[in-house]
Amino acid sequence: MIAETQEVIPALEVHNLSASYQRKPVLWDVDFQLPQGKLIGVVGPNGSGKTTLLKNIMGLMEPDSGYVKLFGEDLEKVRHRISYVPQRESVDWNFPASVRDVVEMGRYRKNRLFKRLKAQDHQLVTEALERVNLLELSQRQISQLSGGQQQRVFIARALAQQADLYLMDEPFVGVDAATEEALLELLTEMKNAGKTVVIVHHDLQTAYEYFDWTVLLNTRLVAAGPQESIFKKELLQEAYGGRLTVLSKIGDLMARKDFPARETGFKEKEGLGDG
């Protein structure tokens, strides 16, 4: 019985959340729940409030109204179970730090900030670096990394946190195709280990393939649910308005998915290359 009730606790509940920048509403009455153990995309056009949603979940912004529960609790109670991966552009990569320095920040805690990291912390940092394949570069200065490598540094830092829920803001931006594939593999591994991963993603075309669930956002919540229930013409049109080129491309993509016998060659790859 107990095990069953634990299963049902959603990883994330957002209740009637509204938020604004300078009185301009960015999120309006957004309300949804996300299950544990899934790979979930937050998708919507530019300026649809995706990043704002993550910031509100992480308490980095005061919402105008509404509240958020994580694993059925307030953020403060479960902070150690949540890991946030900000956008890569949000920091100055010329900061004098090595790859390892940044990943070690994943082991910083409020009440242990004055103490040295323990051997176990260093072990977790090494493991995290290994998982994103950056161990050889661990002493490199972070400005000397490619965009994809910098993104992997952020993900390693999140991994070192040993969380259960990961909130990632655009982890695929500025990442080459090979890294994107490797990242996706890592995310799937995390999901299989029971972690919940929520990803803000701007590319509708790849979103359909990458995630199990999607939150479709355009200031208001358009829909949230498993892929099949979200990728419908009416819903996508509601989120993206009349941008039919996007929609017809998605239609193509879905058709190809549904009928895998159709020719798949570099053409499809080309379509996926965005970002």
Binding site: Q22, M58, A97, Y108, K110
Partner: protein, 285 residues
């Protein structure tokens, strides 16, 4: 070397070292101009505390001025965030206004006492050896400014050592620090409080105009030469000390302002580092 010369250099060195440590984080936080603003805006705090307590260099004066400094950063942020003014404009308004109030206070209320405008603007480190501390039995302990500066340096070193991780994470990625539950406001205000305190202590020696050079130039020089935060802090201290020693000898040779010479040497060191890093980069490429 005369003991007066040694006292001047030593006082300059401890102040420059404290400034270099804090200045490194100012530079990395892209707040160099906030440091400039604070160094000017503490003036009314200093004058008010001086008028109330009637003497310079006591604890009330230090604390009063440090509070003004933190208030400045709050005011800048308030204008920037609430009035939606650009950050540089907020800085420009805040510190000139506070500084102007300080200038008025000095010129109209402190005419007869020992706090003159030249000293406030340019500092006078050459007077340091004149204000000595004695033990009760009459032994010379050294200049008061050296002791105050030394105490400040100790405080800054302890703060940077103990708070190293907190300063590092809240400087590099404040949002992530917040997500971990770390109070970036605590780090911001304790850091800015210490910057204000440093500014006030350094005031008499190098003055309001040149103090920002000690905060920024050695730190910027070190930033060009290393990719490690710890190395940057150590190098910045080294450059700060070199600037004050070199500045003393330059001033002695030219018979000019010591504070001016210190900053000139710091600038020359920066140019050398800039040339070196350019050469180093072109060699690698």
């Amino acid at each position: 070397m005369s003991s007066a010369g040694f006292y001047i250099m030593a006082t300059g060195a401890v102040i420059a070292a404290a400034c270099a440590l804090l200045g490194s984080f100012l530079v990395l936080r892209k707040m160099a101009m906030v440091g400039d603003a604070v160094s000017h805006a503490v003036l009314p705090g200093i004058v008010l505390a001086f008028l109330i307590s009637g003497s310079r260099g006591n604890l009330i004066m230090l604390v009063g001025a440090a509070i003004t400094g933190v208030l400045t950063t709050v005011l800048i942020e308030l204008l920037h965030k609430k009035a939606r003014l650009q950050e540089d404009a907020s800085i420009g308004i805040t510190f000139t206004w506070l500084f102007a109030i300080g200038v008025i206070l000095i010129s109209s209320f402190t005419g007869q006492v020992d706090l003159d405008q030249d000293c406030v603007l340019y500092g006078e480190i050459a007077y340091v050896p004149l204000d000595l501390l004695y033990t009760s039995s009459g032994t010379v302990l050294g200049p008061r400014a050296l002791w105050v500066g030394g105490g400040l340096l100790l405080l800054v070193v302890i703060f940077v050592l103990v708070g190293f991780r907190g300063l590092k994470i809240s400087t590099f990625n404040p949002e992530y620090a917040k997500a971990l539950g770390i109070s970036t406001a605590f780090w911001h205000f304790s850091f800015m409080g210490l910057v204000s305190l440093t500014t006030v202590v350094s005031f008499e020696s190098v003055g309001a105009i040149l103090i920002v050079a000690l905060l920024v130039v050695p730190a910027a020089t070190a930033y060009l030469l290393t990719h490690r935060l710890k190395a940057m802090l150590l190098l910045a201290v080294l450059f700060g000390v070199l600037a004050s020693v070199g500045g003393y000898y330059l001033a002695a040779a030219l018979n000019g302002s010591i504070a001016g010479a210190m900053v000139t040497v710091a600038g020359i060191l920066f140019l050398l580092a800039f040339g070196y890093s350019r050469w180093e980069n072109s060699r690698k490429a």
